[in-house]
């Protein structure tokens, strides 16, 4: 089932802010083998993923039909323990290739003061599963 084309431009906030704790960062760093005590650069995917799930749930898209096609992060400043982060995903583009929906998204990750900490751009490949 193709994704609704009127989605482009719509925003999907993550359901809740994430407080960056030492425990959360430590668990992520351990899982990816990150050296050092700083926050691993891919940590903001935790927020971006929450916002993506809000989008998928709202559109009744099954997660297992999604493959990550591309991810880029631009950082305005390093994330630090103590940050309270929120994420809002915007659907920025939609096209179909060979029965798959290619969904372009941008996620703004902001701190408690509302300043952008990091911007994530992702492409999600949705296989419709008509077969």
């Amino acid at each position: 089932m193709p994704v609704d084309p009127s989605l482009v431009g719509r925003e999907f906030p993550a359901p809740a802010p994430l407080t960056v704790t030492q425990e959360r960062v430590g668990a992520f760093a351990a899982a990816v083998g990150h050296p050092g005590d700083d926050v691993p650069p891919t940590f903001p995917i935790v927020l971006a993923f929450d916002a993506m799930m809000a989008f998928l749930d709202a559109e009744e898209i099954d997660l297992h039909r999604i493959v990550h096609g591309e991810q880029r992060f631009a950082y305005d400043r390093p994330i630090a323990v103590g940050d309270e982060l929120t994420a809002t995903l915007t659907v920025t583009g939609l096209r179909q290739i060979g029965g798959a929906d290619i969904i372009a998204t941008a996620s703004a990750i902001t701190d408690a003061a509302g300043a952008v900490v990091c911007t994530g751009k992702a492409t999600l490949v949705h296989s419709g599963g008509a077969a």
Partner: protein, 133 residues
């Protein structure tokens, strides 16, 4: 913190072994519980060759290599296309190799040119990392 970089510097390639257990741990830590990273039947049902690593796990390995090469320099840009899946067998693991060179140094930023392979196949398209030099 900051290392010195010169254009053309070759960064020592890093090899990481990715196992199914690593993917379970990553799913837990990241919140990405997509079953295509755990369950062979689900993965093949959507046309994948088998259980594949999270693209973000592979990108995290790039972040790890960059941190090791640069002694933890601040990352200002990181990204890639996930062009070819890293298929992770039930036994043993997949070997991901992250190689890099310093492509440019300007305005206090070093851009790294990267090549990320698994079994000799490039798994990331246009991988990019920029750090404060």
């Amino acid at each position: 913190m900051s290392a010195t970089f010169a254009v053309g510097d070759v960064l020592e390639p890093r090899t990481f072994t990715v196992t199914r257990a690593d993917l379970v741990a990553y799913a837990e830590a990241s919140g990405d519980h997509n079953p295509i990273h755990q369950d062979e039947a689900v993965a093949t049902s959507v046309g994948l060759p088998g259980v594949i690593a999270h693209g973000m796990y592979t990108l995290a390995l790039v972040g790890r290599a960059v941190a090791e090469w640069t002694d933890g320099a601040e990352v200002v840009d990181l990204g890639a296309k996930f062009t070819s899946p890293v298929v992770v067998p039930a036994e043993g693991g997949a070997e991901v190799v992250v190689a890099g060179t310093v492509k440019s140094v300007a305005d206090g930023l070093a851009t790294l040119a990267l090549e990320v392979t698994c079994d000799g196949t490039k798994v990331l398209g246009m991988p990019k990392a920029v750090v404060r030099a």
